[in-house]
């Protein structure tokens, strides 16, 4: 439903109500949760919180809520408004498959609510109620704790802390103790093994964006263009602004960036990695203000570690990164947590959005990206020699040649970015490889190469692609290669012309 700007509270509620009962109700509501949506433009942060809380409380009435879970999780992790936290807590109970990260987010919310509880009626706009018997935001979150404690592992130390919070009544404390007891019945230690990947794989506008005109100003008041800030090496880009009032967002982002900086230095990667913090609030955040803010949070500035404001082309920057931010006038009224990793061409290769990231997680991503880059570099350096070797080894039999090529193609896959997403290609090559081996086996009457390569294909598809095991990928590839080599070196010289003949002359002639 199209809306002309600006949205009022009433129009927002009307639009939300208009999707009720629709087949795509949840996806329409989730679209409304996007921070950059027009629904949140030109209104105060308080009003944005009311609108998002209302939407989350409507979503909580749905039987199933998996599409909205990233928003629910982020709200629990970063919000400090009791009403929002209560609505998000309730919405979490609609998850069909909660994970430990959901539990961690809920525990964070409980620590906030322990200090800032309030009465709430989630059926009323903004949750307002004067009823002294009404439930409270903390009570809603504790009910969710009861629910989730049966389903996911929770941090026992944090649970103990929550159980000791003075704001809890005896009955509320019992809920926490029951959650602790439920955790003790779970087998195994608390770990985060079952959480979904932190990294989002959202597509980004890249080459179509008009970035030539973008200008940044750094901490030294030097004007820079896009390339000088974001090209040439792997770059971490985080967004923030100094007037953010939520300590779990911008302040924490910069503090963690400082920590990441130390990890990069400890790994001796300063020459390979650039870290950049960009302000959303380019008119207020002057270089002096930005420098002071990041310095106070432990982020050191130099020519590889920059704090920037956009002086020209702000819209292009926001479009390129699909920033989740909105404004009232020039003041940011809402934004999500977001961090991006760009390769040396300035293309986004990782993004950490909507969830609390740690410096260690980003560092891990950086090391993966840098390692893949190093392998590509070594690959291209080895290529001339490798091709020469390959040509020498290449059998003259076209079937075996095709076998070789399919194996080579398979070997080249891991060198590509996001290669696990190319699993149909890998599967196709595997099948081709086995097909050609089978054709060769008809000539040579040797079944071993097909069996060995077939086994390799099964290992690649099963533990390798389905479960992401790189060890399995290595073993599977080795078996496929051995099978291919067996087929080549097992073929007798007298069979070669026959092989050519069978390929070139159609059946029946």
């Amino acid at each position: 439903m199209l809306q002309s700007r600006p949205w009022t509270s009433e129009s927002f509620r009307d639009v939300v109500a208009s999707y009720e009962g629709a087949p795509d109700q949840q996806s329409q509501w989730v679209t409304l949760l996007d921070e950059s949506h027009d629904a949140y433009a030109q209104c105060s942060s308080l009003e944005v919180a009311r609108r998002r809380g209302w939407l989350l409380s409507r979503l909580a009435a749905l039987p199933v809520l998996d599409l909205a879970l990233p928003f629910v999780q982020e709200t629990l992790q970063t919000a400090h408004e009791p009403y929002l936290l209560a609505a998000a807590s309730l919405a979490l109970t609609r998850s069909t498959q909660p994970v430990s990260e959901d539990g961690a987010a809920l525990l964070t919310a409980l620590t906030i609510l322990g200090a800032r509880d309030d009465a709430v009626d989630l059926d009323v706009w903004a949750g307002l109620t004067d009823d002294e018997e009404a439930t409270t935001c903390l009570a809603v979150a504790l009910e969710t704790l009861s629910w989730i404690a049966q389903r996911v592992p929770l941090d026992p130390t944090l649970l103990e802390y929550i159980g000791s919070m003075p704001a809890l009544t005896d009955a509320q404390r019992d809920i926490v103790y029951q959650a602790i007891a439920a955790q003790k019945l779970r087998s195994g230690l608390f770990s985060d093994c079952c959480s979904p990947p932190l990294v989002s794989r959202r597509k980004f506008a890249s080459s179509s964006a008009n970035l030539q005109a973008v200008r940044f100003e750094d901490q030294d008041q030097t004007v820079r263009d896009w390339s000088s800030c974001l090209h040439g090496r792997t770059t971490v880009v985080a967004f923030f602004y100094t007037r953010c009032e939520n300590p779990n967002k911008c302040s924490l982002t910069i503090t963690r960036l400082g920590h990441l900086q130390k990890l990069v230095a400890d790994a001796d990667l300063c020459a390979s990695v650039r870290i950049v913090a960009v302000s959303y609030d380019d008119s207020f955040d002057t270089p002096a203000r930005l420098s002071r803010y990041v310095h106070d949070r432990g982020f050191k500035l130099d020519r590889n570690n920059l704090v920037l404001r956009v002086t020209q082309g702000g819209e292009e920057v926001r479009r390129y990164f699909s920033n989740g931010v909105n404004f009232v006038g020039t003041l940011v009224n809402w934004h999500r947590v977001e961090l991006f990793v760009l390769d040396s061409r300035g293309e986004v290769v990782r993004n950490f959005e909507r969830r609390a990231w740690t410096a260690e997680q980003v560092m891990h991503g950086l090391q993966e990206i840098l390692a893949a880059g190093a392998v590509r570099h070594r690959f291209w350096q080895l290529t001339p020699g490798a091709w020469a070797l390959l040509l020498a080894l290449l059998p003259k039999c076209p079937i075996c040649g095709a076998t070789y090529l399919s194996v080579t193609g398979l070997a080249a896959l891991p060198l590509l970015d996001d290669w696990t997403r190319l699993w149909p290609v890998a599967l196709g090559m595997l099948l081709l490889n086995v097909f050609f081996l089978a054709r060769a086996a008809r000539i040579s009457r040797r079944i071993a190469p097909v069996v060995v390569s077939g086994l390799g294909a099964v290992v690649i598809v099963g533990p390798g692609l389905a479960y992401g095991s790189s060890v399995a990928m290595g073993i599977g590839f080795a078996l496929v290669l051995i099978g291919s080599l067996l087929s080549v070196f097992g073929l007798s010289a007298r069979a070669l012309p026959a092989a050519w003949g069978k390929l070139l002359v159609p059946r029946g002639h």
């Binding site: 308080l46 409270t136 003075p166 007037r243 009032e245 009232v328």
Partner: protein
């Protein structure tokens, strides 16, 4: 009413004596509470009694003091104010106060509507500083529609100066343009000191001689925060304008001396001459302008 101090004022020597002192203090506080609730006593005595009550001692003590605050029919205003002070002091002990916080905030919200402006103002101030969104919204409503105002506009704006994400900029712009009174206008301008869209407005205000000096000074402070280069651009003109108010001229000189480019200032012959003339002129003896000129010469003299 017995005193809470030891006879000599010193620390108790043994554990036993410390426990005895604790018991005596608890008894004194209990007695104080009963005095505070005793309507037959004078208001002054009841207020004094409340000053030694510890609302965190027991939930019943907290409830009793809260009731004193809430009951405007039987309790005189000074007693209600004393109860508020007692509760507010306890709220600084965050950990111990946590179980009582929700009831405290709910009570304060009810007291927002009392007729006495002093009590209302204090309570609203506590709520706004606590970040209570409901109260902040009520203040903004009152600024948009004076019929619904809980406080005078200048007081409401004063309380909202740190709530920049509440939507106060929009309201402040309206009040700055059509102010109900000059105090409200000044508070609105103070708030807009963080609004980058108001930079041009402040630059115009600073140069506008028909504006009161205080408003022009506010404009200078805001410009220094929002666009220091524009302040410096205006400062030179203001400092050299002999028809300008002396306070504004001294503001210009001070801005240049503290934030200007030193080499540019030292090589600005016209400015240096003007400051020399100011320093020599007896007409300005004893004024801020003379002091500003002396400071400028010391920091930026050629």
């Amino acid at each position: 009413m017995a005193s809470l101090k030891t006879k000599s004022g010193a620390q108790p020597a043994t554990k036993k004596s410390a426990q005895a002192l604790q018991r005596r203090r608890a008894a004194v506080r209990k007695e104080a509470l009963s005095h505070a609730l005793d309507a037959s006593r004078t208001v002054a005595a009841r207020v004094k009694a409340l000053s030694v009550v510890d609302v965190l001692e027991d939930v019943s003590v907290f409830s009793d003091v809260l009731d004193v605050l809430l009951d405007g029919e039987t309790n005189p205003l000074p007693l209600r104010l004393a109860a508020l002070e007692c509760l507010q002091a306890a709220s600084f002990r965050e950990q111990q106060f946590a179980p009582y916080r929700r009831r405290y905030i709910a009570a304060l919200r009810r007291v927002c509507k009392v007729s006495d402006l002093g009590l209302r103002s204090r309570v609203i101030g506590i709520l706004v500083r606590d970040g209570d969104t409901r109260t902040i919204d009520q203040l903004l409503d009152g600024l948009r529609d004076p019929q619904r105002g809980l406080l005078p506009p200048e007081k409401a704006l004063q309380l909202l100066v740190d709530s920049i994400h509440s939507g106060v900029y929009e309201v402040a712009k309206t009040i700055a343009a059509t102010p109900p009174n000059q105090a409200a206008r000044r508070e609105a301008l103070r708030i807009l000191g963080g609004d980058t869209e108001s930079t041009g407005y402040f630059a115009d205000l600073l140069r506008n001689k028909s504006e009161p000096v205080e408003v022009r000074q506010l404009a200078a402070t805001s410009l220094n925060q929002l666009a220091p280069d524009r302040l410096l651009a205006a400062a030179r003109d203001l400092a050299m304008d002999e028809a300008e108010d002396t306070d504004i001229r001294s503001l210009g000189l001070t801005a240049l001396a503290n934030f200007g480019d030193l080499s540019a200032l030292r090589s600005d012959a016209a400015l240096q001459t003007s400051v020399d003339q100011l320093s020599a002129a007896q007409a300005y003896d004893g004024t801020h302008l003379k002091t500003a000129a002396a400071s400028f010469k010391r920091l930026c003299g050629a």
